[in-house]
């Protein structure tokens, strides 16, 4: 996989559509001559209307590099321009124009010695899921914790797969917090990520973890600041900020 040379727009074909939650679906895209990717990278998707009008958005690649296919997971925003098309209009067999893989800062490759802390807000979980899928695909034993903030139980993207991962070999430690509503009997966290929660969940600073935080800008900045206040070296923390709503 070369990261040199121009990044060309290519046409892929949607081979599968997977509903994940009421508002979120994954699209599996077959991209001819795909050169592969690293967990954490994204693609740019470009839509063109018949009169030439174009709209473009970035989507993190959800699939593991070992998968061979490119899948993205998109949250449909009601007032969005691109997401209601990708989640709602697109059918299996449709072609999509995309370029990638893009990114080199917010990436993780298994094999290093340091434990990993993943913090996700809503659809910010997508690149972190690629990292977890990669970790499973290469049977890595790197200790990893995921702290995942969602609005409600129904909105937890990849919920069943995360349950399976957490119950499988070399499991990641998955901790959910549901910030707006919780099912009856819920004994987990019910609030936004704060210092006390990180104190209970995150790796201690002497373990020198790598941290990846992804989600809406305010949530990412808050979590990063809290980790630094807890003694993490800022260079241990990589962030990807989506803006208020995570795309559109």
């Amino acid at each position: 996989m070369s990261s040199r040379g121009p990044l060309l727009w290519r046409i892929g074909e949607v081979t599968d559509l997977i509903p994940e939650t009421p508002r979120v679906s994954s699209l599996v895209i077959d991209v001819p001559d795909w050169t592969g990717h690293v967990a954490g990278q994204h693609i740019d998707v470009r839509l063109t209307a018949e009169d030439g009008y174009q709209a473009q958005r970035s989507y993190s690649i959800a699939s593991a590099p070992e998968d061979g296919r490119v899948s993205i997971t998109v949250e449909r925003l009601d007032d969005g321009e691109v997401s209601p098309y990708l989640v709602g209009e697109v059918r299996v067999g449709d072609k999509i124009e995309l370029r990638g893989p893009i990114g080199g800062y917010f990436v993780w490759r298994a094999g290093g010695p340091r434990p990993v802390l993943l913090i996700a807000g809503g659809s910010g979980v997508v690149p972190l899921m690629a990292m977890l899928r990669h970790r499973r695909a290469v049977a890595s034993s790197t200790p990893v914790k995921l702290l995942f903030s969602s609005r409600s139980y129904e909105d937890v993207i990849y919920r069943e797969e995360l349950d399976r991962l957490a119950g499988g070999e070399q499991p990641p430690d998955v901790v959910h917090t549901l910030t707006r509503s919780q099912p009856s009997g819920w004994r987990g966290y019910k609030r936004r990520i704060d210092a006390a929660m990180l104190e209970e969940v995150a790796w201690r600073k002497h373990e020198q973890p790598e941290a990846f935080i992804c989600g809406p800008t305010p949530m990412v900045e808050s979590a990063a600041n809290l980790l630094v206040a807890a003694g993490y070296d800022p260079t241990w923390i990589k962030t990807e900020r989506f803006g208020a709503s995570g795309g559109g």
């Binding site: 839509l47 209307a49 709209a55 449709d94 124009e97």
Partner: protein
């Protein structure tokens, strides 16, 4: 460009009176927020507006003084260089004619400058004769910071990047100079009806 995304239209609505839509624009129902940086948070108690530069004595107003000036409600169309046009937007503001009244200057241009550092250049003639305002209400409400409040310049006959948000003054200058976007590719004048978006247009 040959690839078309089946079934994609975007959010644009059809059916507007096309004589009001400059070339290359589409009509937008919402009011998109565009910004080159963090939103300044300026209280009306600290706000001032100044006209300075090629003028004997700078003229300065506090918010209270601005509110003493005659203001007017007006409805106008606005055109953003990012291609959206919004029709029939309602504002209240003080006309730049009022602010420039009695200003004795040989300067032919003005550089509008804002809290947060934004600048944009406008010929002085384009601020006169009922073509420009310092606007402080939108749609009957105090202008929200995300749209440039407490007050913004409004020059609706030019692309909206000339309507400096968070405006805090006009510097009168003898020769035209490029502001923030004009120095990085955008047209010095910016007439949407002649589609003057970029350098060389």
């Amino acid at each position: 460009m040959s690839f078309i995304s089946r079934g994609f239209r975007g959010k644009r609505k059809q059916g507007a009176d096309t004589s009001r839509v400059p070339p290359g624009q589409y009509v937008e129902q919402s009011f998109p927020v565009l910004s080159a940086g963090p939103t300044p948070r300026i209280t009306t108690s600290e706000w001032t507006f100044v006209i300075e530069g090629e003028i004997d004595q700078p003229k300065r107003w506090t918010w209270a003084e601005l509110m003493q000036l005659p203001s007017e409600e007006f409805t106008t169309d606005i055109h953003c260089v990012t291609k959206w046009t919004k029709l029939d937007t309602k504002w209240r503001g003080v006309s730049c004619d009022t602010l420039l009244e009695g200003v004795d200057t040989a300067a032919e241009y003005a550089m509008a400058f804002s809290y947060g550092g934004y600048t944009t250049n406008v010929p002085l003639q384009d601020l006169l004769d009922h073509k420009a305002w310092v606007a402080f209400e939108y749609d009957g409400q105090p202008l929200h910071p995300e749209h440039g409040g407490p007050a913004r310049l409004l020059v609706p006959h030019l692309y909206l990047w000339k309507s400096a948000k968070w405006v805090r003054g006009l510097r009168l200058i003898n020769e035209d100079q490029p502001g923030f976007w004009e120095s990085n590719g955008y047209n010095m004048y910016g007439d949407p009806w002649r589609e003057q978006r970029y350098w060389g247009d």
